[in-house]
């Protein structure tokens, strides 16, 4: 069927099979930052935004974004670079395969949570798996990033 949607501020009108998953649709259109790490909606690598809310693109059909606005990491490169520098300076992008989904979720968290505690950060991101880094470096990067971009400190972990 035909769908019309906005992806990273560009309008797409596409004829697609009704059973196509959003992840495959996005990758097919060349948004290759969207990664697949599992078949069971457990890894978080495929995280994108629909109307600014995070979703697992492996878990919904492409047709469901009809008339909606999808954002992938390609659409927010400035922010990706800004936060990415903090990740890089911790060395916390090891293989980097989990990075796009992780960054999409961190940037969504930044919009949603005000001064999150360490625990609420961990909870917010618990669906984003990373097999390489052990998560500690990611956490250091997030804290430094939030501090730097808000000019304020996080409230202490409870």
């Amino acid at each position: 069927m035909q769908i019309k949607c906005t992806i990273n501020n560009r309008i797409f009108v596409e004829d697609i099979q009704v059973d196509m998953l959003l992840i495959d649709f996005l990758r097919h259109l060349g948004f290759l930052s969207v990664k697949r790490g599992c078949d069971t909606a457990n890894c978080g690598l495929c995280t994108v935004w629909i109307d600014n809310k995070t979703v697992l693109s492996c878990s919904i059909l492409a047709v469901s974004v009809n008339e909606k606005h999808v954002t992938t990491l390609e659409g927010i490169q400035d922010e990706a670079i800004e936060f990415g520098k903090f990740i890089a300076s911790e060395g916390a992008e090891q293989c980097g395969y989990c990075s796009p989904g992780f960054i999409m979720n961190v940037l969504a968290m930044k919009r949603e949570l005000v001064n999150p505690t360490e625990d609420s950060i961990k909870h917010y991101l618990s669906g984003n798996l990373c097999r390489c880094t052990g998560y500690m470096g990611q956490l250091r990067a997030i804290k430094k990033f939030l501090n730097a971009t808000r000019g304020g400190c996080l409230s202490e972990s409870s």
Binding site: L32, E93, C95, C132, T133, G134, Y135
Partner: protein
């Protein structure tokens, strides 16, 4: 040092964090045929017939291959230097299937839908055979898993395939049995470690095409490009000249990609059809049709005198290699040699092992490679020995620890040239607050906090076997190209090797261009495994840079017309007290007229494999009513020699510890009674999330390894070994039960508590 020992950002960092298309599936062309494999539903069966007529008629299907259509040359998928120690017991497709998941039919078509439809329409008739699923029943079973006549061995590995024995061996020094008799205390226990999945986030991914010379190009997510070239050529029965392997960025490996898992299938499709093809494993296949960590049962006998001097260590390891022998003969050795060497002061050692075939998925390489399994067993036994001696487990270790200068009897007679383990232990003891917290503190009626400890070692490359070459070139404008065959799998070897080159050549990082692996261009490297890259390839970099400097000085002396002995190089210029030429000028002069384009090659291998060391300390909180464990803190104190890039090394330690925590607490590949893998998804096979790990703290207590580049040893594997025994120890210290079978689940703890009442 200006560049080495600095936390420099990875060269590829910004492209990874901005989501650039750099992985195999991102760069595969759209027109690739999709390749999938029909897999055996039976643990052991003979194929009687395969009916493919209907499948062939599905529109878009280009190629269907059964065992009758593929070369019948046995090989091993294990990525090891040639000739491989692993037996040649595989075919691309075989008449017999030996585990649930063994490939039966290869199907390729223009899209996923067509291929899936074709797979459903293929009918296979099997004669189902009784499998062996329990490794303790393998030896001398009436069922024989490999009875093929063309089974082949390159070495005497103690194999007796008619008895399902893939490999066996023994080692001894002194008389363990006699010593044990005279010991004041003896620990005699068996420990059981399970199969684990490497679970790297990028699944096995490969695409292939024929180039204009009719050669098959394989772009693949691998740790071992040069072994892939050789193994694929052998399996397809074509000359190696016909194969080229390129490694893009890799989404993790941890040993899984030290085996040729996905490459052969698209390669043979491309050979047969002439068309590009790709195979991207889904997560289910990545779990159930690859290789896991070897399951091991390890019996330890350990004896000491009254004062706690360890006298005798005896280890027997039974290892399960599954249906095929990939890495079977080699992993097992580490369970002994890389554990008991820590207690080198003992007067007698014995190590025996058997590696057996069963009808489960083949085991293979996984970070730690047998040392992890052995560390759980021996370190747990050491902790149990301390209890019997009524001695502090740290004191017991420090009393018996190997020391710099020791000849390591159980480590191939090598001399220990660098070791700071004692200080690692002291540091960890202080950081965890051992004196205040050991053994436990009661927090509430049902909660106990306790601490645990373990130490470990690994190697740095495989002595006398691993080989790495590099080439460094001086380009016009005075920048360098570093060509390496070592495989950056995310851990940053492109960056740290460039750091070493920049240090030698006294230049900035941006003057070095690193060229990743393409077997047509890169110099040979055995690959990124066995913790070899920093130590072995790093040394090649140092050698090559020194050679290049010599060449530059010779050329400068010709231009300046001075004796080369008078010249020096400072990174910017070559000069003596009177004359000088800038690097830039020299480089430009060398590429015009009768110039001389400078390239220096070097190869390196090492006769020793200096061990890195680590002490791991954990504090847990245990709920005595439910058996639930929370990790509070984990302290990893590491001696990896000089850290070339401390920040990347730190991430490796944190990542390794977390993988170790997963192995300790819940990771276990399990099978049904018919041999079907029960947990082949992240829904069922849980790896640690960021909520499960407590706080990880990393410290380095570096020694200086004289045979390593800038004093470096290795880091990649040693970091996974301590969590299992340290956590088991903490559980004992909390509730007085010894869990000797991994993973240490709440159920096991609770049952043991109940049973011990």
């Amino acid at each position: 040092m200006k560049v080495v020992n600095k936390g420099i950002d990875k060269l590829d960092a910004m492209s990874l964090v901005t989501g650039k298309p750099v992985y195999t599936d991102d760069i595969a062309p759209e027109n690739c045929l999709i390749v999938k494999v029909l897999r055996s539903p039976h643990a052991y069966a003979k194929i009687l017939s395969i009916i493919i007529d209907k499948a062939l008629k599905v529109p878009g299907i280009e190629c269907i291959l059964t065992y009758q259509d593929v070369p019948q040359k046995r090989f091993t998928m294990a990525g090891q230097s040639y000739p491989e120690p692993s037996p040649y017991d595989r075919l691309i497709l075989d008449e017999y299937v030996r585990y649930v998941g063994d490939p039966v039919v290869i199907v390729a078509g223009v899209n996923v839908k067509a291929v899936n439809k074709a797979l459903k329409l293929i009918k296979v008739n099997y004669e189902v055979l009784k499998p062996i699923l329990n490794m303790e029943e393998a030896i001398d079973n009436s069922i024989v898993i490999h009875s093929e006549d063309d089974y082949h061995l390159n070495f005497d590995i103690g194999n007796d395939v008619k008895r399902n024995l893939c490999a066996s061996g023994s080692f001894k020094s002194g008389n363990v049995d006699e010593e044990l008799k005279s010991c004041h205390v003896v620990v005699d226990e068996q420990y059981h470690t399970k199969a684990n999945n490497q679970a790297m986030m990028e699944t096995f991914s490969t695409y292939t095409y024929l180039d204009y010379n009719g050669r098959v190009n394989i772009i693949t997510s691998t740790q071992i490009p040069f072994h892939v070239r050789r193994i694929v050529a052998k399996a397809l029965d074509i000359p190696k000249t016909k194969v080229r392997v390129i490694k893009p960025r890799i989404g993790g490996g941890f040993g899984a990609k030290q085996t040729v898992v996905s490459e052969i299938f698209p390669a043979i499709v491309t050979m047969k059809t002439g068309k590009p093809a790709k195979m991207i494993f889904n997560r289910f296949e990545t779990f159930c049709a690859s290789t896991s960590r070897h399951e091991m049962k390890i019996r330890i006998k350990l004896g000491a005198d009254k004062e706690g001097n360890i006298k005798a260590i005896s280890i027997y390891t039974l290892s399960n290699t599954g249906a095929y022998g990939e890495h079977g003969p080699t992993t097992v050795g580490l369970s002994g040699h890389k554990t008991m060497t820590l207690y080198n002061k003992a007067s007698s050692f014995k190590f025996d092992y058997d590696v057996v075939y069963t009808n489960t998925m083949s085991a293979g390489a996984f970070r730690g490679y047998g040392a992890t399994q052995g560390a759980f067993a021996l370190e747990s036994a050491i902790n149990e020995l301390a209890v019997k001696l009524n001695m502090d487990p740290i004191e017991l270790r420090q009393k018996n620890l190997l020391e710099e200068g020791d000849i390591m009897t159980t480590y191939y007679g090598e001399t220990l040239t660098s070791c700071n383990l004692d200080n690692c232990i002291n540091k960890g003891k202080e950081l965890v607050g051992w004196n205040e917290k050991y053994p436990y503190r009661r927090i509430s009626d049902s909660k106990v906090r306790s601490v645990g400890v373990a130490i470990t070692m690994q190697g740095s490359g495989i002595s006398g076997i691993d080989m790495a070459s590099v080439q460094i070139r001086l380009n016009d404008d005075g920048y360098y190209t570093l060509l390496i065959g070592a495989t950056d799998m995310g851990t940053g070897c492109d960056t740290i090797l460039a750091q070493m080159a920049a240090e030698c050549l006294e230049c900035n990082m941006d003057q070095i261009v690193v060229n990743g692996v393409d077997t047509d261009q890169s110099p040979y490297d055995s690959g990124s495994y066995a913790s070899s890259t920093t130590y072995i390839t790093g040394m090649s970099v140092v050698k090559a840079c020194n050679k290049l400097i010599e060449q530059m000085i010779v050329e400068a002396s010709k231009i300046l017309i001075v004796q080369k002995e008078t010249l020096e190089f400072d990174g910017q210029k070559i000069y003596n007290s009177e004359k000088s030429i800038t690097l830039d000028k020299l480089a430009q002069k060398l590429v015009v007229g009768d110039g001389n384009y400078l390239m220096a090659n070097a190869s390196h291998s090492s006769l020793s494999s200096p061990p890195p060391f680590m002490a791991g300390f954990v504090e847990i909180e245990l709920d005595t009513q439910t058996g639930k464990i929370d990790i509070i803190d984990f302290f990893g104190i590491v001696d990896c020699g000089t850290t070339i890039n401390p920040k990347l090394a730190k991430i490796q330690v944190e990542g390794g510890i977390v993988q170790g925590i997963g192995m300790a607490l819940y990771e276990e590949v399990s099978y049904s009674t018919t041999g079907k893998m029960m947990n082949n998804s992240f829904m069922q096979y849980k790896i640690p999330s960021r909520l499960d790990i407590g706080n990880i703290h990393v410290n380095f207590e570096s020694s200086y390894e004289p045979t390593g580049p800038f004093g470096a040893k290795s880091i990649g594997e040693v970091v996974i070994n301590t969590p299992c025994p340290a956590i088991a120890h903490a559980v004992y210290n909390a509730v007085g039960v010894n869990i000797r079978s991994l993973p240490i689940t709440s159920e096991k703890i609770l049952l043991s508590i109940i049973n011990s009442r």
